[in-house]
Symmetry: C2
Subunit: 122 residues, 2 copies
DNA sequence: AAGCGTTATGTTAATTCAAGCATATTGAAA
DNA sequence: TTTCAATATGCTTGAATTAACATAACGCTT
């Protein structure tokens, strides 16, 4: 720090915010949706996934159906009834899409942090 | 193109969407706001800028006041009355912030496009 | 003093998006 | 045939954000 450094970090008080999503045919889904898919993959039920995310079954189911309709692809296969009551699994397409989105997101996270620092930390 | 290329571009039908913004003290402003600042810089009045963006003077003025309050800095200097009726100019701080946001945005645009292509065009 | 164009601000209407409530259905097990 | 856990959907509220309406004040010009 030398004389004339008053302006140093004048802009460092700001933070960058952002949201990314995928879209196709007007159907838009972002972080929350793919997080939901992860939970379905892990829990084996929509009910369990919804619970884990603190949302209603109704909301979770609605998101999935909307995405399937707009994107024109099956994202889950469901069983209803039976000894466990039922269950839900991701289709292979949904699994791959989830993986691609995750990698996409990770790289974007890194790059935005870098670009922001380059422009606002001095 | 060779045999077995059926899967080619299976994911290219998707597009990436995103939004970026700056925040400080809970005050959030993105593309629309900085676009408004540009128009003020160019038009010399809030009225003209609002008109150019197809929004009401009331809405434009509200955005600016909210940002100034949350961010704790003056973004515009205004004259009221007089031969032209009045006018508005950006403060030096607002001009610099606008420039930094623009550069930030340009670089993010480029990088996201690149990362998306890398993950979804094959 | 009257007019014009602009800034300044409170108040209310409208629209959109998400949350919550209610209910029906399914199929194995007891 | 009753129970149970889960899927499947319609419908109603509510919250939050945005748009629209209505004035007031200012200062130069005519």
């Amino acid at each position: 720090m030398v004389a004339g450094d008053d302006k140093q970090k004048k802009w460092a008080c700001f933070n960058a915010g952002y949201k990314i999503w995928l879209e196709k045919n007007g159907g838009v889904q972002g972080d929350g949706f793919f997080q939901l898919l992860e939970h379905i993959q892990q829990a084996g039920t929509i009910t369990g996934a919804a619970e884990a995310m603190g949302m209603s079954y109704r909301a979770a189911w609605g998101k999935i159906k909307t995405a399937e309709k707009k994107w024109g692809m099956a994202l889950v296969t469901t069983r209803v009834g039976g000894e466990t009551g039922g269950g839900t699994r991701l289709t292979p397409d949904a699994s791959e899409l989830l993986g691609r989105f995750r990698r996409f997101r990770e790289e974007v996270d890194r790059e935005i942090a870098r670009i922001f620092t380059a422009n606002f930390s001095l």
